[in-house]
């Protein structure tokens, strides 16, 4: 992400349409990156420190499909997402489910431990060398505004996937059950919903969204296992800015972060834009713990 931001910084230091557009594109990707993390946090009340590595895992799977099978990342996306769905579901059901009632510290430490395991496995399998799927689809130029097509396509796909998740949560039996458990677990039990099942499926969906986001990231940015930490950090910011557990929240938080990074990146340099992002996170945390658009969630 840094590379693009620096590219931006070299342009004239002015807030123009290009900067805003860059922010929106970035924001769309961030929304998709964070929405699974937000859902898991909101519904399970678990901060999933594995999230960043799950995204990177998705990116590597897409990369593997691309180099070994020649499969276009946008086509392998459903496959990758399905693999991660199964992975997430099983992980929650058989590992995380045992610590759901433990104090915050325990779930945090456990997901961190799992993250180290996954990170190490990624480094062993794929080495730490940065990879990237280069599609080179050209660029669109309208007036002064320039946008690479691959990036635009990834952003649109990210928004489409996020929208799909929204429809799933709103319009399906499963989605209603997830929202019900999030809003009022005890009342949901009276509807015949088993929260344990919902937790496992929700974690699976969180992993699915991470995998999908990974496929898109692979097209846009160079990635290595180390990118996981950055992506996790972005997810935190998006989540706190937008509020927990809702798709519109993630979207708002993603766009806010994208715009903060691109606008302040131009003004103050990309490094300082990140400080602004985290400072805003801290401020929102202290002043409006429910997020910019959200209402009070857990704790």
């Amino acid at each position: 992400m840094r590379a693009i931001d620096e590219g931006l910084a070299r342009r004239r230091p002015m807030i123009d349409l290009q900067v805003i557009l860059n922010g929106v594109v970035l924001g769309g990707l961030y929304a998709c990156v964070a929405v699974g993390f937000s859902l898991v946090w909101g519904v399970l009340n678990v901060i999933n420190l594995l999230h960043g590595s799950l995204i990177v895992l998705g990116a590597y799977l897409a990369y593997l499909a691309f180099t070994a099978l020649g499969l276009h990342p946008f086509l392998s996306l459903p496959l990758v997402a399905t693999v991660l769905l199964a992975f997430g579901y099983l992980l929650q059901r058989h590992v995380l489910n045992h610590v759901m009632t433990e104090p915050v510290l325990v779930t945090l430490v456990l997901t961190f431990g799992l993250d180290l395991l996954l990170y190490n496995a990624l480094v062993l399998c794929f080495t730490a060398t940065p990879r990237r799927i280069v599609l080179d689809l050209g660029r669109i130029e309208i007036a002064d505004v320039v946008l690479p097509v691959d990036r635009l396509a990834a952003m649109l796909l990210a928004l489409a996937l996020t929208g799909l998740l929204y429809c799933l949560l709103r319009g399906s039996r499963l989605g209603r059950a997830i929202v019900a458990v999030r809003m009022d677990r005890d009342a949901a039990i009276l509807m015949g919903i088993r929260p344990r099942d919902v937790y496992a499926v929700t974690f699976g969906i969180g992993a699915l969204m991470a995998g999908a986001a990974g496929c898109l990231i692979a097209v846009v940015f160079p990635f290595s296992p180390g990118l996981a930490e950055t992506l996790l950090g972005k997810s935190f910011v998006v989540c706190v800015l937008g509020g927990l557990g809702t798709v519109p929240g993630a979207l708002a938080g993603g766009l806010a972060l994208g715009l903060i990074e691109s606008v302040f990146g131009v003004w103050l340099g990309p490094q300082n834009a990140n400080i602004i992002a985290f400072a805003v996170l801290l401020l929102v945390l202290l002043l409006r713990p429910a997020g910019l658009v959200g209402r009070a969630g857990f704790e």
């Binding site: 209603r176 929202v179 019900a180 809003m183 009022d184 009276l190």
Partner: protein, 238 residues
């Protein structure tokens, strides 16, 4: 005499080692409206929560439609035909009236049947049809209670248990709700009500149980009990 639909014997229950129900005996016959009254903390809500499986019974028996239902998960009990409308409505925020109603039918898979019951609910409470796309928690108190009732009906229960139907409602709303309950009962659903407004409860019900300190203190035909001074005694202790 026919076997009662719900039969509870020597039920003991509570939270952890806090016993709330000491020994409850209670029968509900099919097609009846039965009410449970009693002062705060007597254990009415705990009784409903124990029947619906949210709270584990520590001793005693609950038989429903000839089947032992003690110790099962809430979804199994709901599937057996006991729905529970909790106190305070507990509608799901952020979901529309229609989605809330559909959540009541979560365990069902018969699309046609669900659609039919949705129509039935909208027939009983026309205002819900008008507001079906509105966030359920933005409805007025009375409308929320209708939605909660409708959500209970959507599971197609044999027995519908309702906790504190009239709490916080205006007298006219209570009147409308009572009418709706009679209609629901006529449609073949047996009702078990927990009520703090004793008059409303006794007007509606065929049978009444007065619970005091986790035990059934008085029970009998609602009409006969309505004039019984013992009721006041059970509440006021004097």
């Amino acid at each position: 005499m026919a076997e009662p639909l719900l039969s509870i014997r020597e039920l003991q229950s509570g939270y952890g080692d806090v016993t709330v129900l000491w020994s409850i005996d209670l029968d509900v016959s099919e097609g009846e409206i039965v009410c449970i009254v009693g002062s705060n903390g007597a254990g009415k809500t705990t009784l409903l929560r124990t029947i619906s499986g949210v709270v584990r019974a520590s001793a005693g028996a609950i038989t429903f439609a000839g089947r032992d239902v003690v110790g099962f998960e809430p979804d199994v009990i709901l599937g057996a035909g006991i729905a529970h409308v909790p106190e305070g409505r507990r509608l799901f925020r952020g979901l529309s009236v229609r989605d809330n109603l559909l959540l009541g039918a979560h365990l069902r898979h018969d699309r046609a049947g669900i659609a039919r019951d949705l129509d039935f609910v909208f027939g009983v409470f026309p205002v819900l049809r008008e507001r079906k796309l509105q966030d359920a928690t933005t409805l007025s108190g009375g409308e929320q209670q209708m939605c909660a009732l409708g959500r209970g009906i959507m599971s197609k229960p044999k027995l519908l248990m309702i906790d504190e139907l009239s709490l916080g409602l205006a007298p006219q709303a209570v009147e409308r709700m009572s009418e709706a309950l009679r209609e629901i009962n006529r449609a073949g659903i047996t009702l078990l009500l927990v009520e703090q407004d004793v008059a409303t409860a006794f007007d509606l019900a065929h049978h009444a149980f007065v619970i005091e300190q986790g035990k059934v203190a008085i029970h009998g035909e609602a009409r006969a009990l309505a004039a019984d001074p013992k009721i006041r005694q059970a509440y006021m202790g004097i």
